[in-house]
């Protein structure tokens, strides 16, 4: 079996069998349950329509996925170094690129678990299953590059800073800044700064595309501008991670 795949399987095992991984997944389930309950309550009180709650849930799942990707990514190298497990890995014939590929596999698996975990919540808040397919496609096509991009970014910081806590804090700050459009009012988002920020921000691009696909029933093909932004983000963060992993020393 390919060594990078072996490492990716180990990362997956750590997530599904390790105490920390299970704790994070339980926390994610708890957060989704709370958000789901709030959205269903709003829907029942006719405060939000079906499409709006599904859109809100999709945005929440993306934010939660990115948060977990940042947590897992920050630990990728710095955590291994702090626990003394990095040197044995570096002493195998696995190259730095192979280690990166294995860790990327772990990131992808984390997002896949969150995605699968989120499906019943999306179905539940939509109550009738309406908009479920659109939200699943939007999450897969736009959410995946955004979430993995944040994971790559955190991994790159983890390799460069060497301390899990520092890389986690730095990556979390970047994530919070990127996710701030979720908290900004429409007025602020219409200002010049808000528009400029929306144009380059992968999180905004994904959320705006969710809006268009889930609420306005547009096709995914009509979201070219958003797709370009999120895939540029994905590519840039992957390059950053590759460059950072080349310099890993004990």
């Amino acid at each position: 079996m390919n060594a990078a795949l072996v490492l990716a399987r180990k990362e997956g095992g750590e997530l599904l069998l390790g105490a920390r991984g299970l704790a994070w997944l339980l926390a994610a389930s708890g957060a989704l349950s709370v958000f789901g309950l709030l959205l269903v309550s709003n829907s029942e009180l006719s405060l939000l329509d079906n499409a709006q709650v599904v859109y809100d849930m999709a945005a929440t799942i993306t934010a939660l996925g990115a948060l977990l990707a940042v947590i897992v990514g920050s630990d990728a190298i710095a955590g291994e170094r702090e626990r003394g497990t990095l040197v044995p890995l570096l002493l195998t014939p696995l190259s730095r690129g192979g280690i990166l590929a294995g860790k990327l596999g772990g990131q992808a698996l984390t997002w896949a678990v969150i995605y699968v975990l989120a499906l019943p919540y999306l179905w539940a808040v939509g109550s009738t299953g309406q908009n479920l397919a659109a939200s699943m496609v939007a999450l897969a096509v736009l959410g995946t590059p955004v979430v993995l991009g944040f994971g790559f970014f955190a991994m790159a910081l983890s390799a460069r800073l060497g301390m899990a806590r520092s890389s986690l804090l730095s990556a979390l700050i970047c994530l919070m800044v990127s996710a701030s459009p979720l908290l900004l009012g429409p007025g602020l988002r219409q200002s010049a700064i808000g528009k400029a920020f929306d144009t380059v921000n992968p999180f905004s691009a994904a959320v705006n595309a969710y809006d268009a696909i889930i609420i306005d029933s547009q096709t995914i093909g009509a979201q070219a501008a958003s797709l370009i932004v999120v895939f540029i983000w994905f590519g840039l963060t992957l390059c950053f991670a590759r460059r950072s992993f080349r310099g890993i020393v004990r």
């Binding site: 079996m1 060594a3 072996v6 490492l7 180990k10 095992g13 750590e14 069998l17 390790g18 105490a19 291994e80 626990r83 003394g84 497990t85 990095l86 040197v87 044995p88 890995l89 570096l90 002493l91 195998t92 014939p93 696995l94 190259s95 020393v249 004990r250």
Partner: protein, 303 residues
């Protein structure tokens, strides 16, 4: 020569950690690398393993540069770092299988059992590593380091924190590897007893500089650090005199002070003296030996 290190220098953030370290290790030899805390022993092993690039000097492992040929060198070496971490959620079997696969080997159940038996972990193949004691972790780390049948084994404090039986077991494994399998072993340790028992050649590093390096016996003789013993007799010694490996230093009535050649133990000498008819009632260590050599070598640099 399996490992040749010549005048390497390493600095972290501008602060020199190694300034002039030299060592040479042959196949089938156990080499003891000694030095005070912070002297640069672990950094030296990291350079030899290709985990750090030296700022100066020259390193060759099996004739290759560990920095440019790191992948090839990692294929022929095993290492047990000083602070070796483990995946606590794995069992010992899973852990070894994982690293074997990274080395491109697929270990079957029998091979796994053999690896675990070799380090004394066979009774606990499916126990979580998180529940292992320090000694069991050291054994598992050694099993991991031996997974790819290495020609070179680098061990950083392999017996620290082990009970006497654990230490002896590790010693036996190392002796077997060096004598019967031709493995060259570079061992960093603070435990001079380990070096006395296992190593024929040593290097002492102090403040990033090699202050003594070579054959242990030659170094002890050159530094006037042969192991010194005091004998108490219950009568006159026989005319045959002392054995060839014991040298008289002083005599005061029935009290003799002798130096022993390196690699000769007090027990063996006592037995030989009694066999030769010496009326020895007591034999007591007075000093000298590796401890004196180590203290001399590291003290000189501090002054």
């Amino acid at each position: 020569m399996l490992v040749k290190v010549e005048g390497i220098a390493v600095a972290f953030d501008g602060a020199p950690v190694l300034r002039n370290v030299n060592l040479s290790l042959r196949e089938g030899e156990i080499y003891g690398l000694l030095g005070p805390n912070g002297a640069g022993k672990s950094t030296t092993t990291a350079v030899v393993a290709g985990l750090l690039a030296p700022a100066g000097g020259r390193v060759r492992v099996a004739g290759m540069d560990p920095v440019t040929a790191a992948d090839r060198i990692h294929g022929l070496m095993g290492m047990l770092p000083e602070r070796s971490g483990f995946y606590d959620w794995m069992t010992a079997e899973e852990y070894l299988r994982f690293f074997a696969k990274l080395h491109g080997r697929d270990l079957g159940a029998a091979a796994l059992r053999e690896r675990l038996e070799r380090v004394g972990l066979a009774p606990r193949p499916r126990q979580w590593i998180g529940t292992f004691s320090h000694g069991m972790r050291q054994r598992l780390g050694l099993a991991r380091a031996l997974l790819n049948a290495p020609r070179l084994l680098i061990l950083d404090e392999p017996t620290s924190g082990l009970d006497p039986r654990g230490r002896r077991d590790i010693h036996d494994i190392l002796i077997d590897l060096s004598r019967n399998h031709g493995v060259g072993i570079l061992m960093c340790t603070h435990l001079l007893d380990d070096v006395d028992r296992l190593c024929r050649r040593i290097g002492i590093i102090n403040n990033g500089v090699t202050v003594a390096e070579g054959d242990l016996g030659d170094l002890l003789a050159a530094q006037d650090c042969l192991a010194r013993f005091q004998l108490h007799l219950a009568g006159e010694p026989p005319d045959a005199g002392l054995p060839a490996h014991a040298h008289l230093v002083a005599r005061d009535g029935e009290r003799y002070v002798i130096d022993l050649d390196p690699a000769v133990t007090a027990d063996a000498t006592w037995r030989e003296l009694l066999f030769m008819g010496w009326p020895v009632t007591e034999i007591r260590r007075e000093g000298g030996g590796l401890e004196a050599l180590y203290l001399n070598a590291t003290e000189q640099r501090i002054q």
